[in-house]
Symmetry: C2
Subunit: 888 residues, 2 copies
């Protein structure tokens, strides 16, 4: 039946089924499926989404034959219900609801009680035996129809209602009696006429078609369009329209309505959970006029209905193999299900339900792994603002959700103060215009970080994520001036309490209560399944089995934590942070201002044992796992002294005059440091720096190995743009390694690879690969250069771009697959055309973003590397990537 | 004869010929060709370059059979000469010389007078009838052989010679008589023995093989390797060895030697030109002890020989169809040619010779066009330091040759002073750390510009090239401090004279005399031939005929000049320079600090008539030719006031407090402005700016058109990274254009295109092309981002990279075809996959670089655009690209 456009459901049999979401919408498919399952559902029919598509393509006209098809289904419905539309004795009333394949709650139109007119209201009175109920239903219908279908402003009806209440001198709608409501109906019809210049339609079939028009029309109302845009709902052809016989929960005390979940959506516990109200309609539950009762009380109040509901719940959950969110109505002691859908749940609930359902034999491991989104998993690892406390509190401002989790504390404006206050036992929130490497101690001491500028990969964001500190970055509304901050009209001084939510980017005044994370047995089980899937995968173009997750960690503590989170190695160990520590910065500065090779070597010699110690700590923490260590990357001017005192100190140490030092520091200034003298460019121009670092790495590896440890050092050369740079630096590094190994009589194996972060390196990856044992895509810098965005400056236009849809995503948060992705794919293909077994990973911030992880999987990377706190997320995202791509 | 390794020449017949340069080297091929032409050449034979290759591949051993082949050729030579090696009555003497396919003057070894020994010297005495000559030849041979073949230090021989001179109490070598020289020979043999622990070899065949060894060995001596590297000589397999019978110009007054050119290498005039010395050897001419005579005097002195020489010259020039550089020797009244090759010449000479030779029917237009290198052509357009004056003067320092030509003047350190001093009638050289847009007036007033920092595409370099001002940029040796400059030890104060050579990058103390350029009729003819070739070309993948040359010009004056130089349109008109003029900068600043749209629009309204005037001037200057106008590109902070006075002035104008303005200016600061809020990002966030510019462009076009002009405006949107930016901005621009055209009732045609300068734009060019009528590759920025180099900062490591061969070329001067080129090629292919007739050009600095022009031709660009002074160079390079690629 190629032209079938309307699908009937009722009497235990439906023309559609649960698989037909695209055609019938989520609601229509659910109603059909429930009907087929023998669940009591008020009968009705669904007009397919294809009609919506045809409607728009055909200039808002319906396809030929639709009218007849609807009429036939309506007849069927009337005969099944034994009622007729508009009947003066026992009228059929229907609801007309939207329902697309993806839920868009509240975005499209609904009309209830359709079929009422001056004659039918009399029939309803007879049937219901309740005059007030019938007039109330009628006046609600006129209001809803007028508003939804004809655009009559709700206020106009409200005024009419008020006038009657005033006349009666009552406050509440419920104080109006049947006669009053009859008067209201009269006035409503006048309102309708004066607004639309038409009489309120008495023909129920005209009412029906007008309602269908309105629902299809609401598919493209501005808020629905906006909602689809915001929620990235794409590829739908339209909404379906569900015409369903009405059931009433407000027929009396043997009637009622409720919402229930087959399991607890907050905790995931396998407990039937819900709320209901007797003698009420669904909207009463929502309106909050009466307090609904817990579902459990229904067991006592009406054990028969309760038992029936439990049976239905079990049947539905077993059938859908997922936790169900159901709407039900009891009409005169008879249970009807109006809707069922997979229920929304919190992160902890999602994990518990997935694991429980596996244990119950309901679903397999693979399905279980797909049942938890990475965002849900992430919730489990961070403190969150207590939802109860958050309700009703408005955020003062919103910045970038730079590092997830919530934090609260007294604000301080310098890193030093953060450390001092914490020593005094206070909890602080560090507020900075932007952070710099010197702030690391203070960032670590603080509960969280708030910055006024900087993007998703600004220093604050990257470091906070690495430390697992919540961070809101680039909060432009925060104006910082000395030791005070103003957000819009609110002024804060040092010591005032502020709460931030790094998961959403919100900033709150005062101290909000937080909920701390809990690691459960279910979580461990769940993640072990994810690991099973991703570790076992084999891919045609990838020489090794599995899709691994490493971490970006610079210290033994970070490494240890990441390992606990499941990291299978270090994908990026930055060596430059090590130089900022008190005792090291001076020799490093001495090296920078040295006039000749000998002086530089002398200073480097002081740093060697310190670096070696760092590396030994990391190798020990990662015993048995590979550690990729990146040689010095940032430009030297990041390390130079800033204050007069610091310069004086350096002058005392080196014997150079302050003026000489100032002049030296000035020559290091760069107009665009991001594109300047850094990375391997330093290694090429000052080979002795890298030589020292390589010596420290390999010596550390030899010593840990000699003490029984298993070390797999991987030396990574940053910012390579030409194969020549890599070939020179590799030669140097090999020379140093060989000499150390000979001296230490060690046979530790090491590899040397490069970051691919300059577009040119990706473009010429076939040549670069000749000198590389591995590639690690540094997608932060690659994004900066491919798009021409400075991550320190994106605050100026990227927020505008995102708001105005010039960009769909922040390319620093989610890999720009269309642009940057081409270079990544090209780099891997070209690299493997030279070395088929080239190991490839990613160590940019994107390594912790689920959709980027999937991209990395598709293009054949061996691993992703992300900050310690993102490791579990990446493990899940990696497993889901495997499953998603297996299906194809 | 697959294994033939030795090629004989002599007696009017040679086994090789002039085409066999790869096998016989330039010298060997030339000797063979001359021999075949019947030109008198001393007979000999050439051992091929393949032997050199085999020698090195085979661990410095010769292939089997070579010894016999050399012996056979030697016998042939002895019998043809009627002399024998080492003969006591009439010994054969030979020279052993290197000669690769590409000339490497002085880099490899030569041995003369080989064959002399204690016996042969007696034979030479008999034959020459000159005892002194013979002993002198012998001692020279021992010296040369010892030094070249055995590495005996020249000093040791010199000491021995001095001892004899001291004993004889004479000053000059020429004061020594035959007996003295005999004594010298004795001492030289002792020196040889004490240095080498061997007797001086008396067997001429051993001498010969030792010399052959040495010459082949010299192919890979360090200076030869370095020379090939510096001169980019690649793909050669080795040197040939030429063994040739000696002729002597110092047998007496009927002998002599000289060097001549078939035309004047300085001017190109068709005059036989050269120098000679009677009774002398070639080295005497070089040594400068005696002053050589002009060739013309030979006509009187020895009309017969002169006539013979003229005949030879004519035969050679006709044969090689190019100006010849010849070496000749007269031995006892008999003329011998020792070498001929295409002569080096100055730029003006190259043009004159090419045009003359065409007029003489010697060569066709295409060959004529290939006879002048773009560098030679460039010489014609700039002042140069008088070569005579430059001789012996050492440059103080060398910077980047940022804009060609020489300049001399009194140095000043600010742009204001430059303008003032020039008003006072002085000639100045502007010296700056680096220039900024505010220096433009001073740069224009100055003779030339010298900067201490900045690369080939720094502000100073780009603007200087645009103005045709000589410029040396990034001269790190120049330390500027206030109104003084120190270069190494030399101190300069304001007003001191300095001379710069922007063609070489050299900086000289004092005022050197310059030679001014001259535009000749030959030049015009020559360029018209180049135009004929490039304008007529058709390419398979390019929809239009010809390969055009446009110019980058921002003012009517520049446009006019470029048109005189042959520009066929403007490829890049930057609109931002227009805002720096006195009356405009204030409203522009007012726009920048405006708080809202209305205030911005108010300020823009003031700028509109000024911009319109600019564009009208340019359209008029380019009447009938297309003009590509780029909308505002630089970040706004480039325009903000710098000094307190300027801020005060802006405060007075806008009514904003100084503090407010300072804070506003501070918020515009960017960490990496190159990757910041500029280009179309401004257009997207402040559409009113581009709207104003588009309105000005189209209004100007309408008005010029209404007055009878032919206008082809092309609106170019810079820094596009996503198709969305372009689609939005194009829509805005089209809207403005349509409204102006309607208002003006005009049907002026315009196009809208984009720069491709962000890697992502090239990667997604298929989508970008949907909204673009044309692409213009902005290879400056594309290079910055693809390589991750900031052109303002490359001074820090790029010079090191170039010196150490990490980079072969400065990628800002010559397009990096391997990396950036891939993106350009990809961009064109993808763009044309969407629009097959997409017009594509280049407007980066590379548009004036010959090898980059050829790349642009190969990848199918419709045109290149370069600064006005490079237009003729580009015209020639374009024509040569056509010819070079046609041959394949």
């Amino acid at each position: 039946m190629a032209n079938k456009r309307v699908y009937y459901f009722g009497g235990g049999k439906a023309e559609g089924n649960g698989q037909m979401k695209a055609l019938l919408g989520g609601k229509g498919a659910g109603l059909a499926e429930m009907t087929n399952l023998g669940v009591p559902v008020p009968p009705g029919f669904t007009i397919s989404t294809e009609v919506c598509d045809e409607f728009y393509k055909n200039n808002r006209r319906y396809p030929a034959g639709l009218e007849e098809e609807v009429a036939q289904n309506l007849s069927k419905l009337e005969s099944m219900m034994g009622k007729k539309l508009g009947d003066a004795n026992d009228p059929l009333l229907v609801s007309v609801r939207s329902g697309a394949a993806v839920s868009m709650p509240g975005m499209m139109d609904t009309v209830l009680n359709l079929g009422l007119n001056d004659k039918a209201v009399e029939g309803l009175i007879k049937k219901a035996g309740n005059e007030r109920f019938a007039w109330d239903a009628y006046r609600r219908f006129i209001n809803m129809f007028g508003n939804v279908v004809k655009g009559v402003h709700h206020e106009n009806f409200e005024k009419a209602l008020q006038s009657v209440k005033k006349k009666k001198k009552v406050e509440l709608d419920t104080d109006l009696d049947a006669n009053d409501l009859k008067e209201v109906v009269k006035l409503y019809k006048q309102v309708y006429k004066s607004s639309t210049k038409q009489d309120f339609p008495q023909d129920p079939r005209k009412q029906l078609w007008a309602a269908i028009d309105a629902v299809f029309g609401s598919w493209n109302n501005p808020r629905a369009i906006q909602y689809r845009k915001l929620n990235e709902i794409k590829g739908l052809i339209g909404t379906a329209v569900n015409v369903q016989s009405m059931v009433f929960g407000n027929f009396g005390n043997d009637s009622g309505t409720g919402v229930c979940f087959s399991r607890d959506p907050s905790t995931g516990k396998n407990e039937f959970y819900g709320e209901y109200l007797m003698n009420a309609q669904g909207e009463d539950v929502v309106a909050g006029i009466r307090t609904p009762q817990k579902l459990a009380t229904l067991a006592k109040k009406d054990p028969k209905i309760y038992k029936q509901l439990v049976e239905v719940k079990e049947r539905l959950e077993k059938h859908f193999k997922d936790m169900q969110d159901m709407e039900f109505t009891i009409e005169r002691g008879k249970l009807f299900l109006l809707q069922t859908r997979n229920g929304k749940r919190t992160g902890p609930a999602a994990i518990k339900i997935a694991v429980d359902m596996f244990n119950e034999g309901l679903i397999g491991k693979e399905l279980a792994v797909q049942r938890v989104t990475p965002d849900q998993l992430d919730q489990v690892f961070h403190p969150n603002i207590d939802p109860k406390a958050k309700r009703g509190v408005k955020a003062l401002a919103k910045g970038l959700n730079a590092s997830p989790g919530a934090a609260t504390g007294q604000i301080v404006f310098t890193a030093e103060e953060a450390e001092e206050w914490v020593k005094q036992g206070k909890k602080v929130l560090l507020v900075r215009q932007e952070t710099s490497p010197e702030d690391i101690g203070g960032m670590h001491a603080a509960q969280g970080i708030l910055t006024a500028t900087g993007g998703m990969t600004s220093h604050a964001a990257v470091v906070a994520r690495g430390m697992g500190r919540p961070c809101v970055a680039g909060c432009k509304a925060a104006v910082i001036s000395g030791k005070a901050m103003t957000i819009k009209e609110t002024k804060f001084k040092q010591g005032d309490y502020v709460t931030i939510d790094g998961t959403t980017g919100e900033v709150f005044k005062g101290e909000l209560p937080l909920i701390q994370p809990k690691i459960t047995g279910e979580l461990r089980t769940f993640l072990s399944w994810a690991d099973e899937i991703r570790k076992g995968v084999e891919r045609a173009n990838v020489s090794t089995k599995g899709f691994l997750v490493r971490t970006n960690a610079d210290t033994p503590a970070d490494a240890k934590r990441a390992r606990e989170f499941g990291a299978e190695g270090i994908g990026l160990c930055r060596t430059e942070h090590m130089f900022f520590e008190e005792e090291r910065i001076m020799p490093f500065r001495e090296m920078i201002v040295a006039d000749d090779l000998d002086a530089r070597k002398k200073a480097l010699k002081k740093l060697l044992p310190m670096q070696k110690k760092d590396f030994k700590g990391i190798f020990k923490a990662m015993d048995g796992l590979p550690v990729t260590i990146r040689l010095l990357d940032p430009p030297l001017h990041e390390f130079v002294p800033q204050t007069k005192e610091q310069i004086k100190e350096l002058s005392d140490l080196t014997g150079k005059s302050v003026r000489e030092l100032q002049s030296k520091i000035a020559t290091l200034h760069e107009a665009n440091p991001m594109l300047g003298h850094r990375g391997c460019r330093l290694g090429v121009t000052y080979p002795e720096i890298y030589d020292m670092q390589v010596e420290a790495i390999i010596t550390a590896a030899c010593e840990v190995s000699a003490a029984g440890g298993k070390v797999y050092p991987e030396i990574m050369i940053p910012l390579v743009g030409t194969w020549k740079e890599l070939s020179m630096l590799r030669e140097n590094a090999d020379k140093v390694c060989k000499s150390v190994l000979a001296k230490k009589k060690s046979n530790v194996k090491y590899t040397i690879g490069t970051m691919i972060e300059i577009p040119r390196a990706a473009l010429t990856a076939d040549k670069v690969a000749e000198y590389a044992d591995f590639f690690s895509f540094g997608t932060n810098d690659l994004t900066q250069m491919t798009l021409g965005y400075s991550r320190d400056d994106v605050g100026s236009f990227v927020p505008f771009y995102l708001e105005n849809n010039v960009l769909e995503e922040d390319p620093f948060a989610r890999l720009d697959q269309e642009g940057v992705g081409q270079l990544v794919e090209m780099g891997i293909k070209k690299g493997r055309s030279t070395k088929s077994d080239l190991k490839v990973g990613i160590c940019g911030e994107h390594g912790g973003d689920p959709s980027s992880v999937e991209f990395c999987y598709r293009v054949g990377m061996n691993y992703v590397s992300c900050s310690p706190f993102r490791v579990p997320i990446a493990r899940l995202a990696a497993a889901q990537s495997v499953l998603k791509n297996r299906k194809k």
